[in-house]
Amino acid sequence: MILNMGPQHPSTHGVLRLKLTIDADTITRVVPYMGYIHRGLEKLAENRRYEQFTPHPDRLDYISAMSWNGLYCQTIEKALDLHLPERVEYIRVICFELQRIANHLMFFAAYTLDLGQTTMFIYPFQEREWILDLFEQISGQRLTYNYFRIGGVSRDVPRDWPEKVSRFLDHMEKRMKVYHNMVEENEIFLARTKGIGVMKREEALRLGMLGPPLRASGACRDVRRDEPYSIYERLDFDIPILEEGDSFARYEIRMLEIYESIKIVRQALTQLPDEKIPDGHDLIKQPVKVPECEVYCRNELPKGEGAFYLISTGERPEGRLATEGGRRPYRLKIKSPAFVNLWFLDPLTRGHHIADIIPINSSLDLIFGEVDR
């Protein structure tokens, strides 16, 4: 029998339609249909100047806007071969990791809500709110920050901000214990996630899984470690690995990553150099002109490996390949991790019950702004 699920379904985390082929209550095949919020960002990028496109990557993954915003700026900086002031790099890493914590808290909230724990849905929002407040102080925004600029940040952080971040980290560390207890002693949560949607290491690597789900299957792959960018090389942190590869491991891996992120932010705060950094207003006044080149730049985003592939045709004044004298990208490809991980819904759910789609889907941590682009 064929059964339709979505696109307006509360636990598909956005607009995802699934065509389920079922035999009684057992799933034999899942075909996802997406594109409901496809906005053509790649085409849009071709028609915007580099500095004009900086707010758009925020809209890809609106739960972790800082990370995409930073990745876009890094891509252009790599094309320009620009070296940033130390302080900017540190501020960026602090933001990336705080964003990772916020993203994982949101994942945690949505995951537990999907499994019927409405109380647990509200708890992580307290800490996420705190992070949003911290971001609001530096960027003025609460969801799509647009804080980074090509060559820097829009403005330096307030003087008392590092102190506030460090106070938050102390609180966060204490709270983690509460979360662990609330979920890991919950029979329903355990029964619905343990042994559900198992993918082992070899299979996950062969099929090309990305990000935390891959590390929950036992493969140690993290761009921060394998191809370090920014200042990650100087920081001391571990990549958590779990062997089980089930929906519970995919929850646990994110909890472990929060601890590592706390560790990274603490180090970055103590090493944060005190220097004058260029103001965002000055940065935006200088036109960005990218020479003829191609750049592939990837980061470890909270949801996995994301990348931009930029093709610039350089400063040719006219002709069909001209791009306003190198002020617009000729082609900007967005590689999103959620798009790749959504593909795994079919192999992971096969042979399970219909009700198991919900924990499996949530455990992959999908976001449809990023899948549909």
Binding site: G35, K43, R206, G208, Y296, Y330, R331, K335, W343, R373
Partner: protein
């Protein structure tokens, strides 16, 4: 290490052009060589297919594959130039299963046909969509009939 690998590739396959930029080995090749080369790469630790892209260069269309080896720690970027009027290239799905949706997306937005793909349908746009939006000469002629979309 990259230079050594570059030499090995040049000896084994017909490669039009290959250069090393940063930690990327960029290889330009003809369509017929693509699949044997991909098999060779996947046997030599290039198990991470990061991205498949199509680029419209007006006179021709280029398809680009980004491969990373976590063992060797460098990229191999494969580029194949295709005819504008009928761009088609063999699928790499048997080598890297992750190519499934990446190829569907490239087909959907750029109109590159991947021969032998198990399920080559549009993925982000509705089935009834006309034209390939990421091509430079694309003109939008789609008036969405919501009945058709569903």
């Amino acid at each position: 290490m990259m230079e050594e690998f570059q030499k090995t590739l040049q000896e084994k396959f017909k490669i039009a052009e290959s250069i090393v930029v940063r930690n990327e080995l960029r290889v330009k090749l003809v369509r017929e060589e693509l699949l044997p080369l991909c098999k060779f790469l996947s046997e030599n630790s290039f198990d991470h297919l990061s991205c498949i892209t199509g680029i419209d260069f007006i006179e021709y269309i280029q398809v680009v594959y980004h491969l990373f080896s976590y063992e060797k720690k460098f990229w191999v970027v494969l580029k194949v130039d295709l005819q504008k009027d009928n761009p088609h290239v063999p699928t790499v799905c048997p080598v890297w299963p992750v190519a499934d949706w990446l190829e569907r997306e490239t087909y959907d937005l750029m109109g590159i046909v991947f021969d032998g793909h198990p399920d080559l349908r549009r993925i982000l746009l509705p089935e009834s969509w006309k034209g390939y939006p990421l091509r430079k000469d694309y003109v939008d002629e789609n008036e969405i009939q919501w009945g058709e979309v569903l």
